[in-house]
Structure formats: structure tokens, C-alpha cells
Symmetry: C2
DNA sequence: CTGAAAGCGCTTACAG
DNA sequence: CTGAAAGCGCTTACAG
């Protein structure tokens, strides 16, 4: 490979001068500079990454770590949009992104998702907070004292910065909107208690508070249905609920867009027309990017912006501009669509 | 940061011995080894990446380069599945993946998508062949003599290995299948001539040959409609065609699944029922992963397998096991679904 | 304005 | 079985 020495030989200077030219230092005679640049051009020299890293201690690489395989389509949109934001900032700063996934079940292979971090192959980490950050990762971060920013969760650790949406208020406002459309009986599709997801529980809290504040009667045990990420048994739950309900809901607030198709299927199976008999409101903003047969009223998170901000915060940490924990809360945009009807 | 020297001091040996233990060399006394391992464990030592790279010249990182932004949902499934396969191989070999995109329009920023490659920050590249490989990239590859494997295209350059599906035969067999279902007038939705995509043109050739071999009359100018990736004006094209057709097609073969919703919408608008009046067959295998309202007969590419094989080939090149161009052709699986009816 | 020296963390021969 | 020396490609003081 072509090194500074090769360039130096061709240009008839020392390799130190080459280094100066490469790094744009001022104290180089114009003529020398020209010779060096010509040699660089001729040989196609580019400074070797490893040499620079060893000196600076910075590798200009960050890791994007997700706790869910890329391929899970229900989460792909989320990941991709966040990634697009991160990438934009990385481009501007000539930073590269290493992509990693935390294994879902602990594999007994030699695979170590923290290896790049331990090896100092990355300057910092952006963790996609679709699941709680693993303990062993937390320990590594603490031990090696390198920065990490979490997107979509709000970890309490003092050394973790985060970026998140205002889920409580988004849900609160969504319910207000639903009420404006005349609905008085609203169901909520949430997550099983056992599943950790601060976002969804905030949305649930916002849902409840909003109904309370508006003096709308509700009984959580009846109108909050729970499921898992795959909505496995959700249709059955809906069938059961429909039998029990004395007052049938005229609107359903789904805590995640990915649940919408199953929710609609469940209600249709139970004899409802959607959205004629029951309005559907989602959360996330992905459903309308798929080929779903109805445009769904939903809450659109500024995921790309969140990715950008997360990257900015991380870069600040890496460059030592900011050492203490940073947080950013983003507002969500409600989008009325065909699935929300007046009652 | 903790270095070999720190470990050596604690264990009371030289840093060379530490290196030996870390690299699992045989000639270390068992007792010494224990002391060193204890020190490594206590200090949480992990070998610094940059030091190793400078020695070995290998950075155990590959770049995945795509000519389309991640976020383009029409291509997300493709990218993600390929990526999943690559990732699996990377895990096994402790290789990291840097993700990059070729800018769609030449930006006048300082962004250089080949920088990691020039800096020798990656040992090789996997290029997602959704567009033709850019000339400047080809030149860099040649100049720096480091390996590249293309997925989904078949570049002729002698230094580019590739992995692709057998598009011609897949299309050929698909048409045979359609004919088995009794159809005798079949339309094809292809790409505009100006758009480079060897795959799609192979599919078109397979379509034509299959009809010819079966002695089914066809007139390409009538039954091959063309569009761009976004299917922008496809509905208009269909409307025009419907007016001209003397014999209306009873089946439509879409060269890409992403076109299916627009094709169906176009035919429905023209008064057809789908699939009652016209069967629809796609290609790729993504459409059924979305919430589309009909299960579409389609051709499923083994994208994950292709990703794995591409990675394997690349690793072979990197490790010097194989120096000459390698290619692999994958067969496609036809999946009959609701959208293909007997006539 | 330019170059010789030292060092970043590691590995690879070479001695002993 | 273990260590001193040299070197991977670069940058950062230090001399001149």
C-alpha cells in the first residue's frame, strides 16, 4: 500500500512534510505543498486509518446497536428512519457507522456484540431503545467510560444520554382529538404488563389521564386490552371483549401501528365495520407506509430528527464538548386520516 | 485505557507474554498464563483494535454499500434481508459491518462514500447491485486491489465477484405456471428501457421466451408495459392499454412486487376485478410481508442466503484463499397465492 | 519552513 | 518458556 513515505520519496521531501500537507497545516512552503499534492495525486495516497487512530485515540466510527434483528419487519421502519437521521450527521462529520444487534437469546457462540466497543473500534454507541439496555452493556459502558446515547427510551443511569418522544402528551392529545370527533367510549390496545416498554406505558397513562380530565367514564379493566409485539392472540382477546362489553367502543386507540391490522381484523371478525362502526387510531406513523388498505389516523414520530439529535449528542460527548448527561424530548404530530370518523 | 503493558505490570511479566496469552499461543507456561489471565480479567483488558490493524494490515471490517437510501421503503425489505445474511456470516467470523450509501445525486459536499475504503478502514466491500456500480468506485477498487462482491447484478469486470438469482429461468418458469392455470393472454410490467437493471430485463426475456416456446401468441408492443421504480404513471399506462387491447389479458406478470399495488389499482380503476378478471403474479417476495390486502403469487428470492454467500466469497478473497472472480447463481421459489386464479 | 526522534498498542522474528 | 528489538503508518513536540 501507498504510505506517506512513498509520497515523500516521490516528492523529494520527508514524510513529516507529507503529514503536514495531508493535515492542512499552514507552515508549508507553497511550492513544497504543490509537489506533495502532485505526488499524492499520482500515487492515489490516502492516509491509513490505523496509523491515525493509534495516534489520536479516536477512530471516527460509532456503533448503532439494536436489540431487535434488522429483519423484523414490524420494526424495520423504525430502525431505518432513525438510521437515516444518524447517517445524515455521520456524513457531515466523516464518521462511519458499524451496525450491530444484541442477540435475542443468549447464544452460546463466541459472538460478542460488545467486542467492537471493548476493542475501542468505536468511539461511542447509539442504542436503539426498543428493549431495555442489557446489564452487561451498562457495565461495559461504565467501565470503559465511553459515551452512549439511547433513542426511544429514558434510562436513568447518569452516564446515558437519551432522545425520546413525548409519549404521554401525544397520547393525551390523541384522546382529546378522538373526543372532539364525538367518541365517548374508547378502547386502548396496550402491551402485556410483563413486557418492558416505557413508551407504551406512557401512552397508556396519557390515554387514561386524558379520559379522566375530560370526565369521560371508563373502566380500564374492560377497555384496555393487552397483547405482545406480534399481536399473537389479539384477535381472540378482542372477540372475548366484544362479548363482555355492555357499551361497545366507537373508537380504538392502538398503542403501536403494527398492531392495527390485527385489531381491525379482530373487529371485522366480530361483526364491526371499520371505520364505520369503530374508528381506529394508531401510533408511530409506519402503517401508512405499507400497503394497508385504509389510511390510518396516527401519531407520527420525528424519527429521523431524533436520529440526528442522538448523533449530535454523541458527537458532543466524543469530542469532549459536553460531558454530562443530555436528554431531548420530541413532540409527535397527529395525522387525521380515513380511519377516524365523527360519531 | 488499559494496554498490554498495564496487564504485564500487574502480572509481573513482559507485555510480549501478554500478547502471547491474548493470541492463544502454545508456548506459555501454564502458571504464567494463569497470572496473565487473572490480570486481564481484573483490568478488563481487551486488545486495542488499532494496534492489531497496524500490524496485520487487516481491520476485520467490511463495508456494505447501497446505491439507494436505506429509507426507501420499496427497497428496505431487499436490503434488510440481504443484510441479515451478511450479518450472520460476520458474526461467525468476528467481522464488523460499516454501512454506507452512494449518494443519489452527486452532492457538492465533502462527503466521500469511498473514504473508508481509501483509508483502508475496510478489508472489502459488498455492493448491493440495485443500481450499476459507479465508475469512480470501479476505479478505486482496481487501483487499491481490494475485493468487492456484488449482490443482485452481474458486472463483467474480472475483479468483481457476484451473487445473483436466476432471473431468466425464474421468469420462464413463472410464465409456464401461469399458462398451466389456463391463461393465454398475459401482460408483463417491466421497466423503462433507459433504466439500467439487468435483472428486470432478464425477467422480461424469460417472459418472452417462455411464451414463444409454448407457442402462445403475443405482441410485446401491446402486452409489455413499462414504468419506473416508483410506478409514477403506471396507472395511466394501464388505462391507455386497456383502451387499446383487443384481447384483454387474464393475467399480469409484474417484474417487481413493489409495482403490484399500482398495477392492481390501475386494473381496478379500469373496471377489472382482481383476481377474478385478471390474475396478478409478482416477483421478489416482499409484497406479502406488507399489509397488502391480497396474498400475491410471487417469486421469492433467497436473499438471506445470497447475503451469506456474498459474505463468504468476500471473506475468501480477503483471506487470500481465492483470488479469482467468483460467481453464484441462486434459484427462485415460486409461491402460488390467492392472486393467481384458474381461467 | 523542514526534518530527526519518540511514541501510539500491538505482533513478529530473533536471542537466550 | 520468556524478553529485547524492530516495525506497522501516522502525529506530535522539539530542533534547527
Amino acid at each position: 500500500m501507498v504510505t506517506q513515505k512513498d509520497v515523500a520519496d516521490l516528492a523529494g521531501v520527508s514524510f513529516i512534510t507529507v503529514s503536514r500537507v495531508v493535515n492542512g497545516e499552514a507552515n508549508v512552503k507553497e511550492e513544497t505543498k504543490k509537489k506533495v499534492l502532485a505526488a499524492i495525486d499520482k500515487l492515489g495516497y490516502a492516509p491509513n486509518f490505523a496509523g491515525q487512530v493509534l495516534n489520536s485515540g479516536k477512530c471516527n466510527t460509532i456503533a448503532i446497536l439494536t436489540p431487535i434483528p434488522f429483519i423484523k419487519s414490524s420494526r424495520m421502519f423504525y430502525l431505518m428512519q432513525v438510521l437515516a437521521g444518524i447517517e445524515e450527521m455521520c456524513r457531515k462529520n466523516s464518521i462511519d457507522m458499524i451496525l450491530g444487534t444484541v442477540p435475542e437469546v443468549m447464544e452460546n457462540t463466541s459472538y460478542d456484540y460488545l467486542r467492537p466497543f471493548k476493542q475501542k473500534k468505536v468511539d461511542g454507541i447509539i442504542y436503539i431503545g426498543l428493549k431495555k439496555i442489557p446489564k452487561e452493556m451498562l457495565e461495559e459502558l461504565k467501565k470503559r467510560d465511553r459515551p452512549c446515547v439511547v433513542i426511544g427510551d429514558r434510562p436513568r443511569s447518569s452516564f446515558l444520554s437519551w432522545v425520546d418522544t413525548d409519549n404521554f402528551n401525544a397520547a393525551y392529545n390523541t384522546v382529546q382529538k378522538i373526543l372532539e370527533f364525538g367518541h365517548r367510549t374508547v378502547a386502548f390496545i396496550g402491551l402485556e404488563e410483563g413486557i418492558y416498554n416505557e413508551n407504551i406505558s406512557e401512552r397508556e397513562k396519557g390515554f387514561i389521564k386524558s379520559l379522566q380530565d375530560s370526565g369521560v367514564a371508563y373502566s380500564p379493566e374492560d377497555y384496555i386490552l393487552r397483547t405482545d409485539y406480534d399481536a399473537s392472540y389479539l384477535q381472540d382477546r378482542i372477540a372475548d371483549a366484544v362479548k363482555k362489553w355492555k357499551k361497545k367502543p366507537t373508537a380504538v386507540f392502538c398503542s403501536m401501528d403494527v398492531l392495527v391490522p390485527e385489531v381491525v381484523a379482530g373487529f371485522v371478525k366480530a361483526g364491526f365495520s371499520v371505520p364505520e362502526d369503530v374508528s381506529i387510531v394508531g401510533f408511530d406513523g409506519f402503517i401508512n407506509d405499507t400497503n394497508y388498505n385504509i389510511k390510518v389516523a396516527t401519531n407520527i414520530q420525528p424519527l429521523k430528527e431524533m436520529g440526528k439529535t442522538a448523533a449530535e449528542i454523541l458527537f458532543n460527548h466524543i469530542n469532549g464538548n459536553v460531558s454530562k448527561k443530555q436528554t431531548a424530548v420530541f413532540q409527535v404530530e397527529f395525522e387525521v386520516n380515513d380511519s377516524l370518523r365523527h360519531v
